[in-house]
Symmetry: C2
Subunit: 324 residues, 2 copies
């Protein structure tokens, strides 16, 4: 959480307000406008070894994840990705490592037709900063601040598996051998919801990508939109491996708090509900309604219509050395 306080306090109190900046600091992306029918969405993320991914992560997975987290921010804005700049700091020149890292980067670039247009390479402790850009039609982007009381709360895919993988890597739990690879790949190779974001910009009232964890990221929507929300715990889309490994109750708690899923959390009005569900179903994108927004400005959870306390905090990167 401190990350956001820090950014807000020191970096938003600037004197410059350009007319071509449609949206500045504070959402998943900034939006700027040059000319024509599109805005440009811009997002920057830093991944540090030992903070944002375990030291033992493969270079291919690090390359993949570096790009995926930024494309995920673009998706949360409804933007189609276009260009990337990549700043890579490595402790030494290890050609094999670099080849694998680039393979991870370029696999995603080619899949989404995103071009690497520049960057920098420096020597130091391993870290990667990616600035990704994308395009979204003027007035068709999705922010965190457009949600209204009464809107329905949805999430794409399944949530919590990345946190489960982390618990496995940290030795807190044991995943059955046959499922290990499947679950760890959810942590190492997150799939940015680019197509879902593209479709949702026609329907969603707000969106954010799940990087810090459901409760934490929903908190950002609620704060930005001045609404509250209730989450229906039994509706959370949890994988069968997750349920089998932890039991449903603990699995649901992990799904509330665990980060790194990079699914989209979004809201949609009653009027847009059917249209959105149809459009996403036509594209084969699984979504689940997990609750509804209200005017309370707090987040609650219920199980079988009875209130249950939230016992977890958000933002649980794998290390206690959390993002500042």
């Amino acid at each position: 959480m401190k990350e956001f306080d820090l950014i807000k306090r020191f970096f938003t109190e600037q004197g410059v307000k350009r007319k071509d900046v449609v949206l500045g600091i504070g959402d998943d992306c900034a939006l700027v406008h040059v000319s024509g029918r599109n805005n440009i969405a811009v997002t920057t993320d830093t991944l540090i070894a030992g903070v944002h991914f375990p030291h033992e992560t493969s270079p291919r997975a690090i390359g993949h994840k570096s790009i995926a987290v930024s494309l995920s921010d673009l998706a949360a804005m409804g933007a189609d990705p276009t260009w990337l700049s990549l700043a890579l700091t490595v402790p030494e020149i290890d050609e094999k490592w670099l080849e694998e890292f680039c393979a991870g980067v370029f696999e995603l670039c080619e899949y989404y037709n995103v071009q690497l247009i520049g960057g920098d390479t420096t020597q130091g402790p391993l870290s990667i900063t990616v600035t990704a850009q994308g395009l979204t039609p003027v007035d068709k982007h999705i922010t965190r601040s457009g949600a209204k009381a009464g809107d329905w709360l949805y999430v794409t895919g399944e949530i919590g598996d990345a946190a489960l993988a982390l618990k496995h890597i940290q030795g807190e739990i044991t995943i059955e051998d046959v499922f290990k690879e499947q679950i760890v790949s959810k942590l190492d190779y997150p799939k940015p919801r680019v197509l879902a974001g593209h479709i949702l910009r026609d329907y969603a009232s707000s969106a954010i990508d799940l990087s810090d964890g459901l409760i934490s990221d929903l908190g950002h929507i609620c704060k930005a939109s001045a609404v509250g929300a209730n989450i229906v715990m039994e509706d959370l889309p949890i994988s069968s491996v997750m349920s089998d490994t932890l039991g449903h109750e603990q699995a649901a708690q992990v799904a509330l708090s665990g980060g790194d899923d990079y699914e989209l959390l979004f809201t949609v009005s009653e009027d847009n509900k059917v249209g959105m569900e149809t459009a996403l179903a036509n594209s084969g994108i699984a979504i689940t309604c997990i609750g509804q927004l209200n005017a309370s400005e707090v987040i609650t959870t219920t199980f079988n219509k009875k209130p249950v306390p939230i016992t977890v905090s958000g933002f649980e990167h794998f290390s206690s050395n959390s993002t500042v």
Copy 2:
């Protein structure tokens, strides 16, 4: 030099070639086109404590320099700066440090009307990655590759003072007390040549900013343009403090090799020479003609019309722990 080999080898062999990318990896900036009469120039630079600035550098100077080096790349492209994204990695939350750092950042932002639109803040060894963007009219940018044999070679301002400051900080030389602050500020607070770049896009055949050192950066122009160059050593614009401290001969050698000046090195055809000189003089920008390009594809130096050997290599950051 390794920096460029590394980038070229691993990062330019990508499969994606988007039509909206006017210029990809390999120049001071990339250029992309969305719509309308401008291209967008994009550049990314990472500064690492202990590599790109001495550990004892003040936070205000670090903030200034982080932005200045990126604006300098935009200037070398002839682009007018517009937006910045800043990824800051700090070992701890030190409010005083952050305030001073931000003051250094925002001073430059306000001077050049550049808006900080996003970024990331993470915990780790001090480093800063800035992605800066700017606008330049379609077909009016300056690349490294447009120089022709016969073009004249120019540099803005004075060169070598940043390297002199470094030698002072490292205890290799002693600068007279009365000049210390003036010289060290050349290293700590480089002034990006934004206005010069804006004017030069109408006149220059090529340009680069002096970050690695004159010989090294001229080498990039020569390689990209397939030309050679002769530098007239007695014409190098060296400060009087520099001459007095080192003597003219050694001062000229330091001016050839020392980095971090962030002046513009540019070339101009015989036809554009007078127009360019008049336009820059009208804006009060000091420039010096330091040589001429030729068809040899090597760089030579002369003193009083006699060849002198080049005894220095380029790219001399202050630390032996150089950029990879």
